[in-house]
Every structure is written in structure tokens, then in C-alpha cells.
């Protein structure tokens, strides 16, 4: 017996029928799902732990969410004041004020997003982003619907464009348009904790209490658990601000909390991928992990967030928010506005 055979014998774990059944079950379930990052486990787990499909060497996640001018709280393009260079604090406190005044009427809380997942083509040696439009409608009674539409793929960067086109602009993850009624009620992911509509709405508006609530929400085995309170909170507040039906007072408190955080700096006026103007904020979450958040201080809406981890090459998580707010329009298969 040579050393390789000895290693083979020492490490041998013959597959059991139970584990075969479990793996098959997971695979078949996963195959049926038209690959839905959705509100469940969007981006943090993959980025933090590096575990999961999205983190294989050749497939990483980007999430992009878009927004249109038809939402109740969409930016009023007509008479927004010219944005002066503002400090992060001023930006956030302005946003906080406008958050408090945001309307809260409508039958559904609605978020329309485009999520992108990165794929690497071994054949053509290029990166592309497979994109899906995802619309979510949530009723305060806990019912919710999610609609999907595949948007094909785009090259990840200008560098990838020629090879991507030469390859026939393939769609790495084709899905059919569909609208599903969600079966679960814990559809909002705050601090990587799944929350119901009621739980989200019950979050306290007092900054101190909100902070404790967020710290309690962090799952015990989460990579930020046990970190400093600032780090925990910085990891969570963008969730509250971007896609969750928290009350206006809670959103305002979240903005104020962020304004008081160290490690938050203003980047001045920036334009997002849809050409919308906003103010960029750089939020240092942990060593090696930073968020770029673009907000419109006049509406308090988050236009886009992107999280990057420089020591993970090419690893960026991006979200562009298209529509976020209350609406009376019924759930349907989403279309790009």
C-alpha cells in the first residue's frame, strides 16, 4: 500500500443512501428555482463567509436593482436644489428629515430590482452579469408575491465586452417570466435575519433602541456577531434604508444613526447606472469590506448600494433600486420601466 492508497483509505467516507437522497432533494429544488437571490440571503452571507454558490471561483454575485419615476416617493426631477458639496453628516441628516415626511399609503409595499449574478466563461475568458428583474409586493398582513423576468446578460466590464459579443452574448442563466405567491412570511432580510412585515414595522424609532434591536437581530453564528456595535450597525442600516418597509421614523433614525458613525464619508454628487443623480457615501463596514451607497437626500431613497471586498478579486455586490415604496398596483410579472 503506498501513501496515496493509505490516504484514500484513511479519508474514505462512502456515501450513504440518506445523504444521496438529501443532496438530490436539494439539487432538484435548486434546479426548479429560477435562481432567486430575492430577499432571502441576498448578498451578505456570500460575501462574508465566501460560502455558497455565489462564491465559487468562477461565479460571484452582483445584485442590481433599478428604479423608475413612477413610484410614490420617486425623485422630483423638476425642482431639486442643486447639490452642494455636503459632509456625510449633512447628507444623512437631510435624508433623515425627508424620510420622516415620506408617504405611507398604498395597498402594497413594492420593491423593483434588477439583480445580477456574475458568470465567468471559461471558453471565452470573459466575465458577464446575468440579470434578472425582480418585483416584490408585500401586504401588511404578511402575504407577498414575487415576480421574475430574465434580462439576459451584459459584459461585466468594457474589457469583457468584445469577447462576450464574439461568443454570441449568451444568457448563462435563462429563466421564464413568472409571478409566484410567496409561501413564507419572513420575507425581509435585515442584518441577515429573516423578518416578517410586522417585525419590520415594529422596529423602534428611538436610535438607542433601534441599535439594540439590530444587534439582537444578528444571527449568533453571523460573521459580524461579536463585532463592535458600530460595525454591526453599519452592516445592517443599509438594509433598513434600501428595501424594507420600515416606518418613516425608523428610516429617519437609521439615517441619523449612520450620520453619527465613524468611517462614513461623503463622495459628493455621483450618477448611478441609470443616470440618476445622487450623493455617494463611502461606508467602511469592516476591515476589507466597504459599501458605496448612493442616496437621493431629497427623497431619502437609496438609489444603489454596492459592497466590495478588495482582497476578493473582482468581488462586488451591487444593487440598483428602481422602485421602492407604497403602491396600489397589483402584483404582476415585472417589466423594466
Amino acid at each position: 500500500m503506498d501513501e496515496l492508497q493509505m490516504i484514500g483509505t484513511m479519508l474514505d467516507e462512502p456515501p450513504t443512501p440518506e445523504s444521496e437522497a438529501a443532496v438530490r432533494h436539494r439539487l432538484l429544488n435548486g434546479m426548479r428555482e429560477p435562481e432567486r437571490p430575492t430577499r432571502r440571503a441576498w448578498r451578505r452571507p456570500a460575501l462574508w463567509s465566501g460560502i455558497g454558490l455565489t462564491a465559487t471561483a468562477a461565479a460571484l454575485t452582483g445584485v442590481v436593482v433599478l428604479s423608475s419615476g413612477t413610484t410614490p416617493r420617486a425623485p422630483d426631477a423638476g425642482h431639486g436644489p442643486a447639490v452642494q458639496p455636503m459632509s456625510a453628516k449633512t447628507v444623512l441628516l437631510t435624508a433623515a428629515e425627508h424620510a420622516e415626511a415620506a408617504p405611507t399609503t398604498g395597498r402594497y409595499w413594492h420593491v423593483l430590482t434588477v439583480q445580477s449574478r456574475a458568470f465567468y466563461s471559461e471558453r471565452g475568458k470573459y466575465w458577464m452579469l446575468g440579470q434578472q428583474l425582480i418585483g416584490q409586493w408585500s401586504r401588511p398582513d404578511g402575504r407577498s408575491w414575487t415576480g421574475y423576468r430574465g434580462l439576459g446578460a451584459v459584459p461585466m466590464s468594457a474589457k469583457d465586452a468584445p469577447a462576450f459579443r464574439r461568443d454570441g452574448s449568451p444568457d448563462p442563466n435563462p429563466i421564464s417570466p413568472v409571478l409566484d405567491k410567496d409561501t413564507a412570511t419572513k420575507t425581509f432580510l435585515v442584518c441577515d435575519r429573516e423578518m416578517t412585515f410586522k417585525q419590520v414595522q415594529a422596529l423602534p424609532a428611538d436610535p438607542g433602541k433601534l441599535r439594540s434591536a439590530l444587534e439582537r437581530a444578528i444571527p449568533r453564528n453571523h460573521p459580524t456577531a461579536g463585532r463592535t456595535a458600530d460595525e454591526v450597525v453599519k452592516n445592517c442600516v443599509t438594509d433598513l434604508l434600501s428595501f424594507v418597509p420600515a416606518s418613516p421614523k425608523v428610516r429617519a433614525a437609521a439615517y441619523r444613526m449612520l450620520a453619527a458613525m465613524p468611517g462614513v464619508t461623503a463622495m459628493g454628487e455621483v450618477t448611478d447606472e441609470r443616470g440618476r443623480k445622487g450623493v455617494g457615501l463611502h461606508v467602511r463596514v469592516l476591515r476589507g469590506v466597504a459599501d458605496t451607497v448612493i442616496i437621493d437626500p431629497n427623497t431619502s431613497l437609496v438609489l444603489s448600494t454596492s459592497r466590495s471586498a478588495p482582497d476578493v478579486p473582482g468581488k462586488v455586490d451591487k444593487e440598483l433600486y428602481l422602485q421602492v415604496g407604497w403602491t396600489d398596483s397589483a402584483p404582476r410579472i415585472p417589466t423594466l420601466p
Partner: protein, 190 residues
């Protein structure tokens, strides 16, 4: 499936057909599940293995449209995905080898009279072997375990890891040398 019974489709055919017909992918899964699971479970233990194997096949399913048969066959491609996922569980892997090193150390070397001598010796070598395996560089260990657990050829390992054929041989030689060095001298030729 209506394929003629005597011409089984290749993995690459199935994968390409699965782009429009997902069911074809389960045949790919059936063909490779056991081998991939043995490889992953050998490195990470049975519990973590179920997760990682499911993730491996799901990742393959999601990337099936960009699989390029001209760059190698499906089997090394799957092992490549699995190896990348294993790399994200380095601590689990190390703990497994440490545990194996512990288990062996506690054994009473004289207590196995009913076993054949070779197997007793192999068990007694387990701690040294497990420690030596843990001490290998990740690159060398990938090559060793693709060989020892999955019995891949040099060409397949080169495909899996995206390294030149010659590098597989040199890594394997280097690794085997340090594994042998960690074993007691009298066990040679066991």
C-alpha cells in the same frame, strides 16, 4: 428520454441538452454524484460534504450554458467546482485532519491482535499521515487528494486545477516525498 438505447449520450451532450431540458442534468448528476461525494467527504467529512456536493451540482447546473467541451470533459469540470468550494472550508478540512491525527494517537498499538499486520500498521500510521497531509500546501494537497480520493489522471487534474500537465507531476512528486518523510522508516513498502 427517447435516445436510442445503445448510444448513451456523452456528459457534454447531456449538459448541452440540459440548457433547454433540465431533466438531462439529473443524468449528469447520477453519473458523478458518488465520485464527487467521496472526494468532498474525504476532505471535509460527511456532514459538510452534503452541502458542498449539492452546491457543486447546483453551480454546475447554473453554469451549464457556459460549459465549453473543447476545454475538457465534464468530470474534471465538476471536480474543479468542488475543489473551489472546498477551498472555502479550509478550517473544516484542517479540523478533520487534526481529528484523524488525534484518533490514531490514542489507539493501543497492541490491541489489534485479530487484525492483519498491514492494517494495524496502517492504522498506527494514521496520525503521522494525517499530520503530514495537513502540513501540505493547499496546492499540493489538491493534487494529492484528486489522485488519492478521486483517482483522476494527471491530465484530468491539470484540467481541474487549470495548471500545466507537468506541474501536476512535480507537485505530486514533491507532496509524496514529504508524506513519505513523515512516515516512520520501517513502514516503507507496506
Amino acid at each position: 428520454m427517447t435516445a436510442p438505447p445503445d448510444t448513451a449520450p456523452t456528459d457534454a451532450d447531456l449538459l448541452s441538452a440540459s440548457v433547454h431540458d433540465s431533466d438531462c442534468f439529473t443524468t449528469v448528476y447520477d453519473r458523478h454524484y458518488a465520485d464527487v461525494h467521496r472526494y468532498v467527504a474525504g476532505r471535509l467529512g460527511p456532514q459538510t460534504a452534503d452541502d458542498v456536493v449539492a452546491e457543486t451540482f447546483l453551480a454546475a447546473f447554473r453554469r451549464r450554458a457556459v460549459f465549453d467541451p473543447s476545454r475538457g470533459s465534464v468530470r474534471p469540470w465538476l471536480f474543479g467546482i468542488a475543489t473551489n468550494l472546498i477551498a472555502q472550508h479550509r478550517r473544516t478540512e484542517t479540523r478533520r485532519y487534526q481529528a484523524l491525527a488525534q484518533v490514531g494517537a490514542d489507539r493501543d498499538p497492541g490491541g489489534h491482535d485479530d487484525r492483519v499486520a498491514a492494517s494495524v500498521s496502517a492504522e498506527r500510521l494514521q496520525p503521522s499521515l494525517a499530520r503530514a497531509l495537513a502540513a501540505l500546501s493547499r496546492k499540493d494537497r489538491d493534487v494529492v487528494l484528486l489522485k488519492a480520493l478521486a483517482q483522476l489522471s494527471h491530465e484530468e487534474i491539470a484540467d481541474v486545477l487549470g495548471i500545466p500537465y507537468g506541474t501536476v507531476g512535480s507537485r505530486l512528486n514533491r507532496a509524496r516525498k514529504s508524506l513519505r518523510a513523515a512516515l516512520p522508516a520501517h513502514t516503507e513498502g507496506l
